[in-house]
């Protein structure tokens, strides 16, 4: 019967068992219960894509996903796209092409890019743009994002999936790790 739902699911490879009310959105569970703040809330109605995560490998707007429906699911957020101390090739490509401006929409774009490249390792510009219909970038970095995906394709084609985060920060003159 209705009430709290016991949900057991994995987030970024780690298992969680939670009791959640039926109306709780995955977005709220991830941000406010589990602290995965890479998941952003923009519109809250499935239009902007800032909250996109992968559920069993499929892109989902977490603002339109109820946590109680996810028993036994595997969720991946931007925090889980690469192991600790590493950056995924898509992340590095986004930094290198200057795709990131204010950065609010970036996790959603990267998760969408991951979902695309998992299915199609060499997408055309048109396909990339079609997949990015899910995301809105207020800064207007769309062209940079398309370039970033193409750059990520090159890295992945060479078999480079992860980069050392410390080295990337040093090379690109980013703020060093804590």
């Amino acid at each position: 019967m209705p009430g709290l739902h016991r949900v057991r699911f994995k987030v970024n490879g780690r298992e969680y068992e939670l009791e959640v009310p039926g109306h709780e959105r995955l977005l709220d569970t991830l941000r406010y219960r589990l602290g995965f703040v890479g998941v952003k809330e923009g519109c809250g109605r499935g239009e902007c894509g800032s909250c996109i995560v992968l559920v069993n490998g499929e892109p989902r707007n977490s603002c339109l996903t109820l946590t109680a429906r996810l028993n036994n699911a595997e969720v991946t957020t931007i925090e889980g796209i690469a192991p600790p101390g590493k950056l995924h090739a898509i992340q590095v490509a986004f930094i290198e092409t200057g795709g990131v401006q204010c950065g609010f929409c970036t996790p959603g774009f990267i998760m969408m890019a991951k979902a695309l490249l998992d299915r199609n390792p060499d997408p055309s510009d048109e396909e990339i743009r079609e997949w990015f219909t899910s995301n809105i970038c207020r800064c207007g970095s769309y062209n940079h994002y398309v370039e970033a995906v193409k750059k990520a394709v090159e890295y992945l084609r060479k078999g480079i999936v992860f980069f050392d985060e410390r080295e990337v920060r040093e090379k690109l003159h980013l703020k060093p790790l804590g």
Binding site: M1, P2, G3, H5, P21, G22, H23, E24, R25, D28, T29, Y32, R33, G44, R45, G46, E47, G49, I52, E58, P59, R60, N61, L64, T65, L66, A68, R69, M112, E130, W131, F132, T133, S134
Partner: protein, 300 residues
């Protein structure tokens, strides 16, 4: 800990064990209980406080049972819980006879929503911007409905009673949509026109199913987002009849559309645009859809 941000109203979620369990719950708590499939429309309606269900019945445990696309005994059958992504990976996207499915796919919501939204959900939404509804009308599809009193089949054209009101009785859900496998030399097309290309309701949406034999139109089915008065999709049978048996030519199509549409179609004016403009674009969208379908058959 109970997290409520106030953007979603509070409702209870019921996770059923079986179809019967879901139907019994829906019947018992009608009209306070509603089924949730993809949730891409329902959760927004709740968020916007347009509907306030006390209970949502989660249909995802039934996905294994009602998620399929198959060709059986001359019928194309689509399980109601089939997502649009699954639809895009089926034979419907590889066969020219179903080409309209690809057109709808490219115009439907956004990519991530296509992983979540289901075909049954799109039909149950029952609005003038339910794109698959418009296309399936052009295929003369029928809907299979399951309820506590058993199954029934309803022609899609009769299933949508009013805007956002499908013909579902207490304790009933859509379980399948099906249509007859089209013969050779047929194809379909869907046109959606608005100021943007994506994430749009559409000022003028139309779908066309065409069968051309030896240059002559042997069958034509045309559906629009609305015909007159009610803002629900419907068939434009007058135009269909004027096309049947005639030779396919651009001049003939243009002339017939120009003569038929103003007499039989009425569009509304609102803050977005005028009825006259919608009507003009309806003519253009039908023409484009007919030409595209004919081109796919290899006629023009």
């Amino acid at each position: 800990m109970n997290i409520v941000l106030g953007v979603l109203l509070i409702f209870e979620l019921y996770i059923p064990n079986s179809l019967d369990d879901a139907l019994e719950f829906l019947a018992k708590y009608y009209p306070d209980a509603m089924p949730i499939a993809g949730g891409t429309e329902l959760l927004i309606l709740i968020r916007d406080k347009k509907i306030r269900p006390k209970y949502l019945v989660d249909l995802s445990p039934l996905r294994r049972q009602f998620s399929y696309i198959k060709l059986e005994n001359g019928l194309v059958k689509i399980g109601a819980l089939t997502t649009l992504w699954e639809l895009s990976n089926s034979f419907l996207h590889n066969d020219v006879r179903y080409a309209g499915f690809q057109d709808v796919w490219h115009k439907f919501g956004t990519m991530s929503l296509r992983f979540m939204a289901t075909i049954g959900g799109n039909i149950a939404t029952a609005t003038d911007f339910s794109d698959y509804l418009v296309l399936l009308l052009a295929y003369d599809a029928k809907v299979k409905v399951s309820g506590v009193n058993g199954e029934r089949v309803v022609p899609l054209g009769e299933f949508i009673v009013e805007r956002r009101k499908p013909d579902l009785k207490p304790g009933e859900i859509i379980t399948e949509v099906f249509f007859t496998e089209p013969p050779l030399n047929t194809s379909s097309a869907f046109e959606k026109f608005d100021r943007r290309s994506i994430l749009i309701a559409g000022l003028a949406n139309s779908a066309v199913y065409l069968h051309i034999d030896n240059g002559r139109i042997s069958d034509a089915k045309i559906s629009l987002d609305m015909i007159k008065e009610k803002r629900i999709p419907g068939r434009l049978r007058v135009l269909e009849e004027s096309l049947k048996g005639r030779e396919f030519s651009i001049e003939f199509i243009e002339k017939t559309i120009e003569e038929t549409i103003p007499k039989h179609v009425e569009k509304y004016t609102d803050w977005w645009t005028t009825g006259d403009y919608r009507l003009e674009m309806t003519k253009t969208s039908i023409k484009k859809a007919l030409l595209r379908a004919a081109k796919r058959i290899g006629v023009v």
